[in-house]
């Protein structure tokens, strides 16, 4: 492992890694040499103040943004050099996503929203909907299959978004402030379900949050500050 990278748990296989990633938006630098590695099956919380670059780091790890320098590796393979259609296939087939606002397609029913990743991957409609429906009982959504996003509470819509993120069995789930728009109780439900389902499936999770209570569900946290990643400092190591 590269010296200076916040360490993943020992003996665990590294599944996704950022090395010295630099990324700007126009003249504004967002990441200034960010490095982090995530072990397979690990739940990692990425914390930091607003504007620190934590969401940009998530977008780079997920292949949504391409770094200007440095590299992102997924399962040992550089993804920054992939063509857009290859990165798109990677995101569709191997990654799942949950954002702050569920971003459900309002014209589709809840079960059609959940089935979307399967349909985009080429599954038949009947099979995709059947697999989607399996998630409704699991996430306490029974009876909401035919509802549209406007007919659900924020917590219900976010659980539907979570089902959509997990339905295709992704290797890595990226969650950006997944409870940011929810009250404490609904947020707790979402995090319990997210971490429970991820551990059941062995899915690696990278969750960006500014909320300590959300980070407390993770195995480990890193802090992004001024575009760089820092690991927690153990007592006694400060001098």
């Amino acid at each position: 492992m590269t010296a200076g990278l916040p360490a993943a748990p020992p003996r665990a296989e590294c599944v996704i890694e950022a090395r010295e990633v630099v990324r700007s938006f126009g003249p504004t630098p967002a990441l200034r040499g960010a490095s982090v590695s995530v072990a397979r099956g690990e739940i990692l919380a990425v914390m930091g103040p607003s504007g620190s670059g934590k969401s940009t780091l998530l977008h780079c790890l997920a292949g949504i943004l391409v770094p200007e320098s440095g590299e992102i590796r997924f399962a040992g393979r550089k993804i920054g050099t992939l063509r857009e259609n290859e990165r798109s296939a990677l995101r569709r087939d191997r990654f799942g996503f949950v954002f702050q606002f569920g971003q459900l397609v309002p014209e589709l029913t809840a079960e059609e929203n959940v089935a979307l990743p399967l349909l985009l991957a080429g599954a038949r409609r009947g099979e995709a909907l059947a697999r989607a429906r399996d998630w409704f009982g699991r996430l306490g959504l029974d009876g909401l299959e035919g509802h549209r996003s406007g007919e659900m509470s924020g917590g219900q819509a976010q659980r539907v978004a979570l089902a959509r993120g997990l339905v295709a069995g992704p290797e890595v789930l990226f969650a950006d402030e997944p409870t940011g728009s929810l009250d404490s109780l609904a947020g707790e439900q979402v995090m319990n379900l997210l971490t429970g389902a991820a551990r059941d499936q062995g899915t690696t999770v990278v969750v960006v949050t500014h909320e300590p209570r959300v980070a407390a569900y993770a195995d480990r946290e890193v802090i992004v500050r001024d575009g760089k990643v820092t690991s927690p400092v153990p007592w006694g190591a400060v001098s």
Binding site: P212, A216, P232, P234, W235, A237, V238
Partner: protein, 122 residues
């Protein structure tokens, strides 16, 4: 509270106690009286930060270390919530929200370290 009769059990006899009317009144008064909001002034952490700045020590690193310890405790309490009953959840929530309050103070202080350093070194 006054002693009542004895009650036989599997082991030695147990003495039964009965709450008096005065006791009932006292408990009701205690329940009805709001507890004073404790200020939790973070005296130890506050002192460490100020002293670290005065001595030119890495106050930000002390805050980071404290954040890690707080988050580790929050992780333990979250596990208690996951595996415990509703009363455990209630108690763990109490601890979690207080730790979260501390962490907000740590974050705010971390964001103000530059200005604080100028203030204490004047």
């Amino acid at each position: 509270m006054v002693a009542g009769g004895a009650e036989p059990g599997a082991g030695p006899e147990r003495k039964r106690y009965v709450i008096t009317e005065a006791g009932v009144t006292e408990v009701e008064a205690w329940l009805a009286e709001p507890a004073g909001p404790e200020p939790h002034l973070q005296a130890v952490l506050f002192t460490k930060v100020v002293l670290a700045l005065m001595l030119g020590r890495p106050a930000g690193r002390y805050l980071d270390a404290q954040r890690a310890v707080h988050l580790a405790r929050m992780r333990e309490l979250t596990e208690v919530k996951r595996t415990g009953g509703l009363l455990d959840v209630l108690l763990a929530d109490y601890g979690l929200f207080h730790l979260e309050g501390d962490l907000r103070w740590i974050d705010m202080t971390g964001a103000r370290l530059g200005a604080l350093a100028r203030e204490v070194r004047r």
